[in-house]
Symmetry: C2
Subunit: 314 residues, 2 copies
Amino acid sequence: MLKEFEIIEKIFQKTPTSIFLGIGDDAALFHKNKKEFWVISQDTLNINTHFLSNTDPENLGWKSLAVNISDILSMGGNPKYALLSISVPSANQVWIKKFSTGLFKCAKNYGVELIGGDTTRGSLSISICILGEALQNNALLRSNAKLNDDIWVTGELGLAALGLKYKKRKFDAPKTLIKKAIKALEKPLPIKVNMKKLAALCNSAIDLSDGLIPDLNHILNKSGLGANIFIENLPMPKWIRNNKNYPLVLSGGDDYQLLLTAPKNNHKKIIKFAADNKIKISCIGLMTKTKNIAIIKSDGEPLLYKKKGYEHFA
Amino acid sequence: MLKEFEIIEKIFQKTPTSIFLGIGDDAALFHKNKKEFWVISQDTLNINTHFLSNTDPENLGWKSLAVNISDILSMGGNPKYALLSISVPSANQVWIKKFSTGLFKCAKNYGVELIGGDTTRGSLSISICILGEALQNNALLRSNAKLNDDIWVTGELGLAALGLKYKKRKFDAPKTLIKKAIKALEKPLPIKVNMKKLAALCNSAIDLSDGLIPDLNHILNKSGLGANIFIENLPMPKWIRNNKNYPLVLSGGDDYQLLLTAPKNNHKKIIKFAADNKIKISCIGLMTKTKNIAIIKSDGEPLLYKKKGYEHFA
């Protein structure tokens, strides 16, 4: 099913563009001035594909913008402007007000201004175009990971996937964890930092929307490299680790954290940046020559891993 | 029903922005450099709201981009980049290929590059964000129409509305006209000119998506003026004129032609610009102090007019 989705995506990628970076990364880049790029991206969330019909509208408003902000961050950019197209089956003011409350809270939190859009009748769907700014010298392309780069991830992984499993009633876990997991699913929190500064310490990045392994694979494919990932270094809730429920962490989607690769020389600077900015960051592996991913357990043994990521057309 | 739609639109317009022009015109404007604005807009087309399910996919691809190009032109801008989010119920390659053919033909025709977007599963919906460039001195705001300005429209009006009526089987007319009308509905042709040059001759503009009168009303409301419109000057197919089917012309939507207001001093220059660029343009009236619209017949009598425009939530 992955193939079908990829094929139709490629139909729209056929024409080369005059800009610095077109379709194929988390966002496109075009020149703003001599030092900066405009970073631009557009993502859609559809009912029953990207969120369940019982999703809290305020959280949905937050998430709709947050997932787009995540795309700007992953290019090394700071988000700036957003345009919202929302299709709703009826003009339900109460619902729309709650949705807009969440959206504007998220906008305020990340310094984004809503500058345009469209409100139309249709199946519930939210499409946001987002613009940000990145320094030309420090834009983080998927293609720019280097051999022996440290691999970093922000935040904690697997929570959103756990939340989704619970909501689909396929899973159970401690109540406090479930609460946290549903929050992670419905109200993702991309890091809130001056991304231009973090980007100056890194080589490449991607945001974790499809899952750690599928998203890491995009970097490997574009950079022509492989990776070693150390299970013990992966940031995850204790309960997931104790139950060895690694697929939630390795291929669960919707984390909206960043995966970054950075020169080893910057290891301490990144730790310091994270501490100064009160964000959680974990060094989870390194870039290798092998062109595949080795997932290594604490005893040094590789983990058997069934590749599966979040796939919209699955 | 108009009220409901307006209320939910306003929910998203509550916060002021730092940019030159935010939500409330055909597009937003923010500074590109000392002389130019970026013009940015996003429009969505949903199945059964904006197009019928039997619409030819190639035409739909064309129209999806054309209606967005129209928004850039109406601000006095030239379109440049587009991002496409398309939701489709299944990965139907044949359909998507036809759609993309139409989209890329339109992009090529108007010099637009597709630089990003998203392909997802959902009810058929197309959301395009478009960026263009306008000269700061000549951006065409709805609020900038002046007393005694000539009112101009490009192309011919009422065809798309006739096409829609026919497709809904509520109307019949000569076959050749119907063919032309369906083409106007399914494959609108915004003018193809260097809009920066036309804008230099004008004060304000809006694109005709909802209908001549509803769209003209937006200019009147924002500019605090009224208008006289002369029926005999309105560009329309002979059959419509002979049958006095004026509502098609006055309140039929989907024309995607421009309504412009311009100083009388530029009257001849505009005629010349249109001739040089092989576009049809008609002077249909003038801006008045009255704050309402008088539609005047050839005998000088006002026409009784039942106000009704295309309304998504109607």
